[in-house]
């Protein structure tokens, strides 16, 4: 830029020099134009070669639709790089990424949309690129910063709550107010949880008469509550199962992520949700970039993550998911204003249970195993 101005200020300006400085000036303006579109500063005119596509792992259904609408389409429009979504499950792609990095191969994806707990495991293993220095990291809400890690090997992108979803017809008098409703004999065989109990362990701790301060040292109240729940013969599954079970009338109650319950409702299934008096588990999801990518692809993978943190991208992406993002000043969806499962203010988080990620990383496997041990009995 400075050289262009010097050239323009010179007493004798040739046509070639004028055209050259003009084009450099135009490119500089274009770079700042991309900054306005969510890329921030630092996208230079002499950027690395663009790959034909970048591959982003995503969950299916409403999740990938939201990512596509909020982030991927905007990224493609701004850069011309196509985005392909890989719908391999997060748990299944993790060993593939770890193996690729360990064997010095190019990983199968460019960006991993992952739970913060899983992403932290990958970061601890040393397979995640450092994302520090991305322009859109500045000004994000504190929840974006990963806990227990140096720098930004991962970046948290939104929060979500494991709500108590219920079929409206089963509760004509209004929402249940306690997780104890899962033990009501009339709901035997009509209750659903995630197959490893994820999102339920902290709530079970409180519902079982224990305290959050005892996590992870003494989880016996949680296991006692889950043992009682076992007699209810709950169904155990994943995200698509819950929607199917509500749709087929197989269940009346489920501990599931708000987005799934909201998507079911928006598709005409008569389902609602609540945060019971004992509270509900709140977690975050993250984006991270695996090591081993070619330099130019690494650059654009980071640009994708950076773009996802912009206010414009976050607004569309997280609104479709019905989840509070990490960019400040986002407008909540109309149907979720004031919903305790959509926390936006510090006081909203008082009803929610937040377990630090390092504790989850260390103990989650044990919690899954214990849950499995009870449920497989």
């Amino acid at each position: 830029m400075k050289k262009s101005i010097e050239l323009l200020a010179g007493p004798r300006l040739s046509r070639r020099a004028f055209l050259g400085s003009g084009s450099r000036l135009a490119l500089g303006v274009a770079a700042f134009g991309m900054a306005g579109a969510g890329f921030g500063h630092g996208v230079l005119a002499d950027e690395p070669a663009k790959p034909d596509e970048i591959i982003v792992r995503a969950w299916g259904g409403v999740w990938v639709e939201a990512l596509d609408a909020g982030v991927s389409q905007g990224f493609t429009k701004a850069t011309g790089i196509k985005v392909r979504h890989d719908l391999t499950e997060d748990n299944e792609i993790q060993p593939k990424l770890w193996a690729a990095v360990a064997q010095g191969r190019t990983p199968p994806i460019h960006v991993n949309w992952d739970t913060s707990t899983n992403a932290t495991k990958s970061a601890l293993r040393g397979v995640a690129e450092d994302l520090s220095g991305m322009s859109n990291l500045d000004g994000l809400l504190p929840v974006a910063k990963p806990v227990g890690l140096d720098g930004y090997p991962i970046v948290n992108v939104y929060s979500y709550v494991y709500v108590l979803a219920y079929r409206d017809e089963a509760f004509p008098d209004g929402a249940p107010d306690s997780w104890q409703v899962l033990l009501d004999p009339k709901f035997k065989g009509r209750v659903a949880l995630y197959d490893d109990g994820i999102g339920f362990h902290p709530a079970a701790q409180v519902a079982g008469g224990g305290s959050l301060a005892d996590i992870p040292g003494n989880m016996q109240p949680a296991w006692d509550f889950i043992r009682k729940l076992k007699t209810q013969e709950p169904l155990l599954g994943e995200d698509p199962d819950f929607t199917n079970w509500f749709q087929q009338g197989e269940i009346d109650l489920a501990c599931t992520i708000l987005s799934n319950a909201r998507e079911a409702k928006m598709n005409g299934i008569k389902v609602s949700w609540t945060v019971p008096q004992e509270g509900a588990d709140v977690e975050t999801d993250a984006l991270w970039v695996p090591k081993g990518l070619p330099e130019n692809e690494l650059y654009w993978a980071k640009q994708y993550v950076n773009y996802s943190l912009s206010k414009d991208a976050q607004q569309v992406w997280t609104s479709k998911l019905g989840l509070p993002g990490v960019a400040p000043g986002l407008t909540p969806p109309e149907d979720l204003v004031g919903d305790p499962a959509y926390p936006t203010q510090p006081e909203d988080f008082k009803r929610l249970i937040s377990i630090p990620t390092p504790v989850r990383v260390e103990y989650e496997s044990d919690w899954f195993a214990k849950f499995n041990e009870i449920m497989q009995g």
Partner: protein
């Protein structure tokens, strides 16, 4: 054929023989069987290599601070499996299902195979053959979802019961549901193993039995079944091993609370990111399955799976 054409063919064959002799000298003829065995040996070698890798992984414990497997070997994963009673429960569940499914498919498969082989009606034989092979065109997952439609809360059976003012009954996501799904899946395998054995029984032998005054069930029990033993053994082994290692039916029909050992192995690798634990469970599954098959072979012979068949030296 004209003598010119015959001459041409003979010259062509001589040419091909010359090429063959140049590429593969006569002295090397003894190596031909080994050449044909080579692909199978290579396949088994790759499988064995994979098992060695799994075995190595099973001896490395996960470090939760780095999520890397340990550099040193230990039996930590096996100790963990022994400690957690859930794995014993899952293993018992898998073995029980393998035995029950084997026995039921044999009981259903013998009459099916017998009728298919012995019927004089070609139309019936064709119908039975279509019924046998059609399921192979439909994947296991699709068939499992079919059971959900039939047995679900709003499925065919409960809808019918509803019309009669009964139900709904809980027919899905139980252990018996998984076993029924597996029986339906395994029955064609059993029939495929039984049919050749029954075909090999000369009809004259059965006629002789009838002629000597035996009732049909006496002929079945004292003549057909003993002579069909090779097929019974083969069917048992195939159905037992596939059922023991099944993943899809318990996953889809079990409702999450009726896992088999394959589901536990999957969880070890993918749910808790512990490849060592998953590998240890896999090694145990291979050992237990192999032991069961070895015992069966030792007691009853290898059946139609063996190289030595009835009637050969």
């Amino acid at each position: 054929m004209s003598s010119y054409r015959a001459s041409l063919i003979l010259r062509l064959l001589d040419g091909l023989e010359a090429v063959r002799a140049a590429l593969w000298p006569t002295g090397a003829a003894r190596a031909v069987p080994y050449v044909f065995l080579a692909p199978a040996v290579l396949l088994v070698f790759l499988l064995a290599l994979g098992m060695l890798y799994v075995g190595d992984s099973s001896l490395r414990v996960l470090d939760r601070s780095t999520f890397q497997q340990s550099e040193t070997y230990s039996l930590g994963n096996y100790a963990l499996i022994a400690e957690r009673t859930v794995y014993l429960r899952i293993l018992w569940r898998s073995l029980l299902a393998a035995v029950v499914v084997s026995l039921v498919t044999l009981a259903l498969g013998v009459p099916y195979a017998y009728v298919m082989v012995r019927t004089a009606s070609s139309a019936l034989r064709k119908l039975l053959l279509i019924g046998l092979f059609l399921p192979f065109l439909i994947g296991q997952v699709v068939r499992a979802y079919g059971w959900l439609i039939v047995l679900g809360h709003q499925g065919l059976i409960n809808s019918g019961l509803g019309v009669l003012g009964l139900g709904p009954l809980k027919l899905i996501y139980t252990y018996p549901t998984v076993v029924v799904g597996l029986i339906q899946y395994m029955l064609p395998f059993a029939v495929l193993m039984l049919a050749p054995a029954i075909t090999a029984i000369p009809e004259d032998v059965e006629s002789a039995s009838d002629g000597l005054g035996a009732r049909w069930w006496q002929t079945l029990w004292y003549v057909v079944l003993p002579m069909a033993k090779p097929g019974l053994v083969a069917a048992s082994v195939v159905v037992f091993t596939i059922t023991l290692t099944d993943f899809a039916m318990p996953e889809i029909l079990g409702g999450g609370g009726n896992d088999f050992i394959a589901n536990a192995i999957h969880d070890g690798f993918f749910a808790v990111s512990d490849a060592g634990l998953g590998s240890a469970l896999a090694v145990l599954l291979v050992l237990i399955g192999s032991t069961c098959v070895t015992v069966l072979f030792a007691l009853l012979g290898t059946g139609t799976l063996g190289l030595k068949q009835r009637g050969t030296a």
